[in-house]
Amino acid sequence: MVKMILWRSVYAVASLFVVSVIVFAATQALPGDAAVAKLGKNATPAALESFRQLYHLNDPLPTQYVNWLGNILQGRLGVSFATGFPVGSLIGDQVANSLVLIAATVVIAVPLAVVLGILTAIRRDRATDHISSVLMLVISALPEFVLGVALVLLFATNVSQVLPAVSPVDPSRSIFQQLDLIVLPTLTLVLLVLPYVVRTVRACMIEALESEYVTMARLKGMSERRVVLRHALPNMAGPTFQVVAQSLAYLAGGVVVVESVFQFPGIGQAFVSSVLSRDLPVIQAVAMLLAVFYVLVNLLADIGTVAMTPTMRGGTR
């Protein structure tokens, strides 16, 4: 198992390296001149040139890449072209905000989905199951911005005004003191991932309930409750980890739309605005962060899966 973790980690680092090359190459291909974007429409050629000098934009690309990677590895993410602020301090809060948002989503969605999945699996093909699956189907069919907008209309603006409609997180206070601001974005994201997790959990649960060891547990005189909780449940951990990991990666994308609906200052907003304003250092940093997040989440999920799945543990593999 230790070997497997090591191997996976090496692989993770290698793929991050590849990602870094791609991110760098892709951002170089962005049309529009970073210097023009920064200095504005009436910049003089001289000003543009000195800007390019300042940010080493005239160096050969491989040199730029090596310097960039070196800096990133040392935690120096560069300086935003658009605002002149260090990228780290610029997006630090936004990364933290998005992480809180995603964490809140996971904390709510996963247990909810597990409970729902189990319930619907136990009541398979009965009313509860049908209602839940139709509901999940419709939710998953609605584009995410529709969900967000609908929630705003319902809870914040037109139908009732119990919750904030937009989420301008005050950067001078901890996000934990402004949790009301993340309620609706979280709810939207929860709805976004719920159907998929529920579906997986339900399918795994059904598989487990149809397995012979569950039949055996029943034949050993176990109560239904015990059968579900002690025998079927542990066997769902692995797949659930995997689907949660995928949901997390998905959430990282879903936050773009949700953050835009709620104007939540998060990583998605940072990405969109940096792409639009050709703010190379920020694009690169955000893209790398997303990749690290994805790779890390998958690594953890794999380790978690293996740790929770006895048949995958043990030396071999």
Binding site: A37, G40, N42, A82, A156, N158, Q161, P164, Q263, S274
Partner: protein
């Protein structure tokens, strides 16, 4: 003549205190605190800086930091500015002539010219002299009777010697407490503000909602914001339904226009083509649909009789004439032409107007192909902004002088059309070299030339709608087109 004095301004004693949370339309993700930067936010800059001259709500320039701003002698090429007494910067340093000179030079820095550099073009940075601590003499490169106008613009706000945009300091009503790029600027009351008893608010919070009119409206509806400016017309009904929200409509000279590239080799080089385009537009429909009727049709000049005495009110209003447009195009050999139309969502209604224009062009046998640029920074930032044949744009309330120095002269920093008309240039110079009615007449003539041959289809003027929570009071209709009370933040208070 300027319209009558602002109505509805509260009278009597005002409450002090409170925090006003406001989401300016111009607070984008790339906003900086440097007032002279192209990425500045006027709402933000006006909160912590003051200009030498300031326009009142009727768009009439009034002395602000400058107690006097007068020409020396008659040639209009030498001016003196005498600063108001007792004005201090947020760090306690008194405002002096040095600061004014520093600010002007900073704006004219060829390496990094300021937003208003075009308006200050007549100034010679080497010919600025400090007469005493409070007095500056400006020697101009050429006479300019309109010099004050440049100093009335928000980006011309006075900053202290050695200004560092990272730690912005001004003389304005609010001192910066914190700034998070793209997200939030917080200012607290400048207790030593030079206007007696103002500002009233304890603090002002400006929040960044880039490209997000819906979110700004939602924020106001859910009471997370106390005010927003430049509300799209189709959102007003929703806001008006709510008793706690006050919708304030300001008749302004802010206008939207389409500019045509007309230098050599461009599609609009031939004035007949420009005229044909000006004739194909159904202006009333555009004002109705894009502005929800809140505004007036424009006459291709970019200045309005209501606000600007240099506009020639005898100019006939241009109306749609498809047949004439067709025949002009035919005469120019351009019938059935097809143009790429670069469109940014520059202002509420702008994209809508662009879509309507496609229909109008189609009627005249012209094919417009939309090239929508999603982000404003990119719309203005990338090179194609200058080279595009046809693009939309907008402007605040402007005078002929403003428009000419920014956009119509070949030297204008925002001349993106390649428009270069010798007559315009000479009329401009002559007008600046004179004053009073003489100057006015010359400018009016200039406006006639532009009306005929200019690069712009100015199709409409917009009344700007702002909305705020009735917990606050103070804002009045403002003609500048900047938005919310012309960003005279010091006038806002708790109700």
């Amino acid at each position: 003549a300027p319209i009558s004095s602002a109505t509805g301004a509260p009278t009597g004693p005002r409450k002090r205190g409170g925090t006003f949370r406001f989401a300016p339309a111009d607070f984008g993700s790339t906003v900086t605190t440097d007032p002279q930067s192209a990425n500045s936010s006027f709402a933000l800059a006006a909160a912590y800086t003051d200009t030498l001259v300031r326009r009142d709500h009727d768009w009439v320039p009034r002395p602000a930091l400058a107690e006097e701003f007068t020409p020396e002698g008659d040639d209009l090429a030498t001016w003196t500015i005498r600063l108001r007494d007792g004005v201090t910067f947020h760090n306690g340093k008194p405002l002096t002539a040095d600061d004014v000179i520093f600010t002007i030079r900073r704006n004219l820095d060829p390496e990094n010219p300021g937003f208003v550099a075009g308006l200050l073009d007549s100034l010679d940075p080497r010919q600025l002299t400090k007469l005493d601590a409070q007095t500056v003499r400006l020697k101009l490169k050429y006479p300019n009777s309109m010099l004050q106008e440049g100093f009335a613009e928000v980006p011309a706000g006075i900053v202290p010697v050695g200004f560092d945009p990272k730690k912005p300091i001004g003389t304005g009503p609010f001192k910066q407490q914190s700034f998070t790029p793209g997200q939030r600027w917080v200012g607290v009351r400048n207790e030593d503000y030079w206007m007696e008893g103002r500002p009233y608010l304890d603090s002002l919070e400006l929040m960044g909602f880039a490209n997000a009119d819906v979110a700004r409206v939602n924020g106001l509806l859910s009471r997370q914001l106390d005010g927003i400016d430049r509300v799209p017309a189709n959102q007003l009904a929703q806001l008006r339904q709510r008793g706690e929200i006050n919708v304030l409509v300001s008749p302004t000279g802010a206008f939207q226009f389409v500019s045509m590239r007309c230098d050599k080799g461009s599609q609009f080089e031939d004035n007949r083509v420009r005229q044909a385009f000006k004739l194909m537009v159904d202006r009333p429909q555009m004002v109705d649909v894009a502005f929800g009727g809140l505004g007036d049709v424009g006459n291709d000049v970019g200045s309005w009789a209501k606000f600007d005495p240099t506009y020639d009110s005898s100019l006939p209003q241009r109306t749609q004439d498809i047949d004439k447009a067709r025949s002009l195009l035919k005469a120019a050999g351009q019938d059935g032409m097809s143009v790429r139309f670069r469109v940014g969502d520059v202002e509420p209604g702008a994209k809508t107007a662009a879509s309507l224009l496609i229909q109008h062009a189609k009627a005249a046998g012209v094919k417009l192909e939309l090239d929508v640029v999603a982000d404003l920074a990119q719309f203005y930032g990338s090179a194609s902004y200058r080279t595009a044949q046809l693009k939309n744009d907008w402007n605040f309330t402007q005078s002929i002088y403003d428009n000419a120095s920014y956009c119509w002269l070949p030297s204008g920093p925002y001349n993106n059309t390649g428009f270069d008309h010798p007559k315009v240039a000479s009329l401009y110079r002559q007008a600046l070299a004179t004053s009073g009615s003489k100057s006015r007449e010359l400018m009016q003539e200039l406006s006639r030339v532009v009306h005929d041959e200019g690069p712009w289809i100015v199709w409409g003027r917009r009344d700007i709608a702002d909305a705020y929570n009735r917990k606050f009071t103070g804002p009045v209709p403002d003609a500048s087109g900047l938005g919310f009370n012309g960003f005279h933040w010091e006038e806002i208070s708790l109700a």
